[in-house]
């Protein structure tokens, strides 16, 4: 990125007005950790959004509201009933990057290795965009394409909402990588809810080895109403594993990427089930 000026508004409206006026010549910046991957060399004005009061994690009526500029370190350190994003934050590269990277920056532009979009899909998140009017998008809707396409000049993602985990529910997340700083080769998240010993609801999302993070609908459908266990998880995985086109990254074959996903879908379901059982 080629920043030629830096603006530091303190009010959301002020920031939005600036971004609207400057249009494509401006870019909102928070942690800036992704900028190293952006090849755009056109002159830009950086509009700092860190002073707008968009950071923080609040639990309101069983739903977590995570401000767009909340850092991954804040997500890692947060401890409250039903909070699960610490498990995702832990896998988020290194501490210096966790200290800078934010929720908003990590989801408005999706890279193959992105952690949070996969988790948000499994957690049925809602994403709040503040423009001339406030809009709320579901995670599948938001991640159906590169999310920045949803944002017009002056629009800002201001918060993300996820329901807190309650009794009878479980969540698990796995990121397959060679080292702690590695890009993910396959990312899987699963959320499930039990009712009377059966799977009442389930969401499985995958990333990295597919073009965009996505839900595994066929696997979910095969599990709903089923009695959970290794056989059911394996059978469901088999039912849906070939829905996406698996793509091996960083030297691995497509076949191995599919295999990794098949193993870890079962793994995360098993872990989520354990949690839902209260184990």
């Amino acid at each position: 990125m080629n920043y030629v000026d830096f603006k530091s508004p303190t009010q959301l409206d002020e920031a939005r007005t600036l971004l609207k006026e400057l249009g494509e010549s401006a870019s909102p910046v928070a942690g800036s950790t992704l900028h190293v991957f952006l090849k755009d060399e056109s002159p830009k004005v950086a509009v700092d959004i860190l002073r707008l009061g968009l950071n923080g994690i609040r639990l309101v009526d069983g739903v977590y509201h995570i401000g767009a500029t909340t850092t991954v370190t804040d997500m890692l350190n947060h401890r409250q009933h039903g909070w699960v994003l610490d498990r995702v934050a832990e896998a988020f590269v290194t501490q210096p990057i966790r200290n800078m990277a934010t929720m908003g920056g990590s989801v408005v532009r999706v890279f193959p290795w992105s952690d949070l979009p996969v988790a948000l899909l499994a957690l049925n998140a809602e994403l709040v965009i503040t423009g001339d009017a406030e809009r709320v998008m579901s995670a599948p809707e938001f991640f159906a394409t590169q999310p920045f396409h949803h944002l017009q000049a002056g629009d800002l993602l201001t918060s993300v909402r996820i329901p807190a985990l309650v009794e009878g529910q479980g969540f698990a997340y796995h990121k397959e990588r060679r080292t702690t700083t590695d890009f993910s080769r396959c990312t899987i998240a699963a959320w499930l809810a039990l009712d009377d010993g059966k799977i009442a609801d389930v969401r499985i999302a995958v990333g990295a080895a597919v073009p965009m993070p996505r839900r595994m609908d066929a696997v979910e459908d095969a599990l709903k109403g089923a009695r959970p266990g290794p056989a059911a998880f394996e059978k469901a995985m088999q039912a849906g594993i070939d829905a996406p086109r698996w793509k091996g990254l960083h030297g691995i074959s497509d076949e191995y990427a599919r295999h990794l996903a098949s193993v870890h879908i079962v793994d995360v379901l098993t872990k989520a089930h354990e949690e839902a059982k209260g184990a």
Partner: protein
Amino acid sequence: MSKRDFKVVNQPLRKIDAMTLALGKPSYVGDFKPDDALIIKMLGSPHAHARITSIDISEAEKMPGVHCVLYYGNVPRIVHTTAGQGYPEPSPYDTFMFDSKMRFVGDRVAAVAAETEKIAEAALKAIKVEYEVLQPVLRIQDAMKEGAPIIHDEPEARAVIPVPYEPKKNMAAHVDMEIGDLEKGMAEADETIDFQFYNHYGQHCPVEPHVSMAWVDREDRIIITTSTQVPFHCRRIVAQTLDIPVRRVRVIKPRIGGGFGVKQEIVLEDVVAMMALRTKRPVYWEYTRAEEFISSRTRHPMLMRLRMGAKRDGTITAIGLDCHSNTGWNGSQGLTVVCNSGSKMLPLYRCGNIHFEGTVVYTNLPAGGAYRGYGATQAAFAFESAMDEMAEKIGMDPLKFRAMNHIKSGDTSPVFRALGEGREGVDQAITSCELARCIKAGAREIGWKRRKPHTTKKGRYRRGIGMACLMQGSAIPEIDMGAATLKMNEDGSFNLLMGATDLGTGSDTVLAQIAAEQLGTTLDQIIVYSSDTDMTPFDVGAYASSTTYLSGQAVQNVALKVRKQILKVGADMLDCKPAELTIEDAKVVRKKGEGQVTFSEIALYSMYSANQFQIGDISSKIVHHSPPPFAAHFAEVEVDTLTGAVRVIKYVAAADCGTPIHPKLAEGQVEGAVMNGICYALTEEYLFNDKGRMLNPNFGDYKLYTLSDLPEMKTILVPSYEKTGPYGAKSIAEIGINGPLPAIANAIHNACGVRLRTGPFTPEKIWRSLQAGGEIPFEEGH
């Protein structure tokens, strides 16, 4: 002196440059870049094998801010080697500053020196080049085929020492050696094995990439400040490539941010020197990380065939090692690296029938060079994997099999004479070897007794333990030379001037410890200045595990000479004979009775009072032995049999380096080398497309461990006393990298029965091997 009397040596003292570096004071080449330095950027070839049919630099030359454009049409065409080795070099002369023939993706097309990096990059884009694209040679086996494209078809390519060199067959070097009769030994064996192994590309990954700057002083001399391991070789080769006398070149090495062998090569200095001459401006060139991967140097990939025969009682009857080394686009260090594959592993186990053959071939891929381990790393993988396989075949514990066969103190090996560095070697007997104690200590630490066969293991996650034994060398006998100058100051301190090159290893501290110990003073009284070709005496540089052993002896010798001078002046002052005196705590004292003078009083006396002279001397050292350090490495791993993922649970390295002059630095060398080796074994991998372009030249895609990936590591220094070394010391810098590849391969086999013969041990490779019942068909990799 008894080894128990050490006061400075064998102590973990504060590194003499520790505070300078910790406080971030200017230390490295980049810290000294003049504000008015021109920036150099290089246009690299987009083709692995091509001929430039036309090149037009006129638009680039006209651009404002551009001061010079160099290409093959406007520089001298002088064939040379980029290898920083002793003269005459064992590496072939096959390189030019610029050439019209492109031999790898990234090869030098043209260089620009401009006011800013942006201008230089814009100028590169303005250079118009047309190529005749030739068929690239991307594999060892393809390079050797009849009718393969010839990579070095230039008439100037030649070997400068009498060794086989056939560029028309893409053969950069060849060596063949037989002791006894391999086939007879194989016939005598109860069990035989015959396997192929492949060592992959790997890069040194110094934090500081190659970086050099140069300027021309008022006497028209070129002053080069560069991150190099070989300042004196650099001076000689730069003078050669520019066709100017050596006296017109001065090379200064400041602190180095890591080398590991990659800076034993003249990679940037010829161009910065030429640019400085042409522009009369300071010039600065720093490789990008991508250039460091592609255009600097790598570990030579090797295709190996290893044959071994043994009797059921554990006697090894035959060893055959056939190495085909990929030296890439130039032959730098190719011969000597492959010689080391034989000479640093074959003597490790007693055997009367040995055959070794090394063939070095050119390909259109990045060039191999010196890299920590230097051929021994490659051979250790094949050798130590084979030791486990043979042990399994004859039904013997692999530890016991190694323990009964390894070389011991007092032993010799005909390999020492038969295989040197590009020429015949030197007879030597082992005068210090504590490998047996290394094996015992390491086995105890890893818990070898609980090791069970893989066939007894069940479940998804399976653990295994593997081991490897290793040896290296300490300097190159009858070739390497080091020297040191020592002079005394009025306050009793000393200037120690050395050609030896501290590349981040702490050798300045280690050598100062040796001087202080010999002089009878403290470390803070030694002022070290090293690696400046105008100011310090000659030293071959930092390579071949030589600095402590070789340069250390030069320092010890000069300190001994100065000690004698001090005693003589002290005797004058105390009116007695030198033999009646000794040195204690920087004072000359009478052995019997009263009377003492301090070092400061002695210095002042010799400078200002009577019989005036500068207390000081110079000493050179060439070594006649290369005493090997030894090591036993043990790895415990856990394999996820569903995905093939491997986790190193614990790694134990027990090493005999003689007397560790600085135990903490010695441990650091072992730990750094082991981490280096673990990454090479598990994660490091050059990915190429089918046209020879590297696909992952960055740290995002070429993966190294960081401290957060560090497994539990235990380093055990098992002391011995090497009587030919300074205070009993041998080397330690390289040996540690040779262990992880075989130890982890053996541990993976012990965990799940998979035998891996090509690195790196990726999860996919292990998963496929598990699917195939333990082994996948062998194929040459990259």
